[in-house]
C-alpha cells in the first residue's frame, strides 16, 4: 500500500526547544540557521513565539522545525513544563570558552530526561568555535559525555556559521519522520479556536 505513495512529496513538522545558559548564544545559533545572519549586539530576548525553518532531508522529504526560544524564562529557572511538552528535539548549547556553561548544559539535559518524552532527539553543541584561542572546554570532554548518553555532538560557530547546518541536518536525520507522518493523519482532532464560528461543525468521529 505504501508503494503507491512513495514518490509523493512529504512534509513533517517537529518542535525543537533551545536550552542552555543565558549568553551562550542560543538565539544567535537559531538566527544563523533561520536567516543565515549574525548580530554581535543581539539583545537577550528574541520577541517571537517561535521561529520556523525548513530543511530538505531527502528528495521528497521536507522537515519544518518549529523552534521555541526560552524567552528568558530559563534565567531564574522558571521554564514552564509547557516548554518541553511534545518537544521532538532539543538543542542544548554551551560556550566553549566558559567551563561552567557545560555544567549547566548537563543539568538541562537531566531536566530534559525528567520533563520531555523519552524519545526526544538531543544535540549538545559547543558554540563560539571562532574563539578557539579562548577555549576552556576540550572537545574530548564534551564529546565523551555526549557519546555516553547517545546525544548528537557538534562544535559550531553562530558567528561564522560553521557547523550550524550540519547540526540541524543531524537532528533531522534522527527524527522519527515516518511515525510523525502516520500519526499526523490520525491526530488532528483538536479544535481550531481561530476559526470563526460556524453552526454546522460535524463533531469528530474519533
Amino acid at each position: 500500500m505504501a508503494d503507491l505513495v512513495t514518490q509523493e512529496p512529504r512534509f513533517a513538522q517537529f518542535k525543537l526547544v533551545l536550552l542552555g545558559e543565558s549568553a551562550v548564544g542560543k538565539s544567535s545559533i537559531v538566527h544563523r540557521f533561520v536567516t543565515d545572519s549574525f548580530d554581535d549586539l543581539r539583545e537577550s530576548t528574541i520577541g517571537a513565539a517561535f521561529l520556523t525553518q525548513t530543511i530538505q532531508l531527502d528528495e521528497r522529504t521536507t522537515i519544518k522545525f518549529e523552534i521555541w526560544d526560552t524567552a528568558g524564562q530559563e534565567r531564574y529557572k522558571s521554564l514552564a513544563p509547557m516548554y518541553y511538552r511534545n518537544a521532538n528535539c532539543a538543542l542544548v548549547a554551551y560556550d566553549i570558552t566558559q567551563e561552567s556553561s557545560l555544567d549547566r548544559a548537563k543539568s538541562w539535559i537531566q531536566e530534559l530526561q525528567k520533563q520531555a518524552s523519552a524519545d526526544i532527539v538531543v544535540a549538545l553543541v559547543g558554540n563560539k568555535l571562532d574563539l578557539e584561542a579562548e577555549r576552556k572546554v576540550s572537545t574530548k570532554e564534551a564529546k565523551e559525555y555526549a557519546d555516553e548518553l547517545g546525544l548528537i555532538f557538534k562544535e559550531i560557530s553562530a558567528k561564522t556559521g560553521e557547523g550550524i547546518k550540519d547540526v540541524f541536518h543531524s537532528i533531522a536525520s534522527k527524527l522519527p519522520v515516518e511515525e510523525k507522518l502516520n500519526s499526523a493523519t490520525k491526530r488532528r482532532r483538536n479544535i481550531d479556536l481561530n476559526r470563526p464560528s460556524t453552526n454546522n461543525q460535524e463533531s469528530c468521529s474519533c
Binding site: A48, A71, Q73, K77, S78, A80, M82, N190, I191, L193
Partner: protein, 447 residues
Amino acid sequence: MEENYDVIVLGTGLTECILSGLLSVDGKKVLHIDRQQFYGGESASLTLSQVYNKFKPNKTAAESLGKDRDWCIDLIPKFLMANGELTNILVHTDVTRYIEFKQISGSFVYRDGRIAKVPSNEMEAIKSSLMGFFEKRRMKSFLEFITNYKEEEVGTHKGLDLDKNTMDEVYYKYGLEKGTKDFIGHAMALWPNDDYLREPARETYDRIILYLHSVARFGKSPYIYPLYGLGELPQGFARLSAIYGGTYMLDTPIEEVFYDDDGKFTGVRTKEGVAKAPIVIADPTYFPEKVKKVGQKVIRAICILNHPVPNTHDTDSAQIIIPQNQIGRKNDIYIAVVSHSHNVTAKNQYLAIISTVIETDRPHVELEPAFKLLGPTEDVLMGIAELYEPLEDGSNDHVYLSRSYDPSSHFETTTDDVKDLYRRVTGHDLVLKKRKTVEEEESLACE
C-alpha cells in the same frame, strides 16, 4: 538582577498571568514572581504525587493508577465556554499558539434523580428525555423565542421587555415547569442559585445565548478544555509575557514589601535582591492583611475512577450540573469529568471533580448526591477553600489584588476579575488588539 519595573506581579495564577501577558504586550516592563516552584498557584494542574502530597500526605497513589507524569489534575475545576471571554482573550493574544484545545463531549443536568443531556436547540428539546410530551413543546417555543429575539424587531419580543420583565415572568409566559426552569437557569444560563428569577431577564437571556452559541461553535457541548489541563493556561500567558520582555522568577518567596511615606507600594525584596515598581498586582495569599473573607467556603472533591461516569453514554468528558432545587440545596453541585482523551489521566482512568459551596458543617455529606452518580471510585481527595476578595480597590496603596477562584463551572467570572483589575491598574478599559502574526513577529525578531 535589574531593579526597576513598571509592574511587579505576585503569584502565577491564571488571573495574574493573563494580566502579565496583557501588560507586557502593552509595553510595560513586568517582573512576575511566584513563591512556589511551579506555575499556576491555585489554578495549577498537578501530578498525582503532588496531589496526594497536598491532600493525603500520608498516602501514596496506588500503582494501578499508572505513571505519575500522565496526570494533570486541576485544583480548580472549570471549563471554558467556546464563545466566552477567555476564549476571546486567548484568540486575540494568540496564546492559542502554545495550547491545544479539545471539546468537552457532553453537558448533562440532573433532574428527578437521573441525569440527561442538556438540549441545545429546538430539535434536541423535542427528543430530550428531560421533559414530558407537552413540556417539550413549551420548551421548543421558549428556545424559538430566545434564538429569534432581535432587539430592533419589536415583533420578536413577544410582548416581553428583557430589561423590565423578570426571568420568572418570561418562564411564566411559556408555561414552563419548575424542573425545566431548573435546567434552563442552572445548566444553560449557569446561574449558581435562584436569585436570577427575580431579576430582569436580560442577563439570563445573554447567558443562554452564550451557551447556545458556544454549543453551535464546535458541536458537542458549549465547553472546551486545554490538552494537559487548565494549568496550561497560566503557563501560556506567562510565555506571552516573557516573549514581550517579562521577567519570570519561580521558587522565590517575598521577604519584604516596601511602601513610601504615603503608604504606597514601592517594591519587594527577594533572595535575588530588591525590585522596585510603582504598582503590584497579586493574588490574595500575598497580602493576607489586605483581603477579607467573602463568606463562602468551597469544597472540591477529586474522584479518580477507572470507568466512565454511568449514564453519560461512556463519554470521555462532561460537565454535570445538579441544580440546587433538585436536591433541596441553596447552591448547585458541579461535576467536571475529564480523562485520558485530554491528556490529563493515565489510560482508562477518569477524573471527576465535584465542587460546591458549603452549606452545613458536614460538607462531605452534601456531596452525596454527586458521589451516587459517579459509581465506584478508586480514591477521593478532598479539600476545602475559603474565598477571599480585596478590601480596597488598590488606588490608595497601589496594591491591586485579585479575588479567589469562585465555585462557578466556567471562567466568565475570572475574566470579569481580569478586566476589573486591568481597569483599576491602567485607568482604562481593556481593549483587545490582535497580536502580530507569527510571520510579523518572526520578521521583527530577525531584523
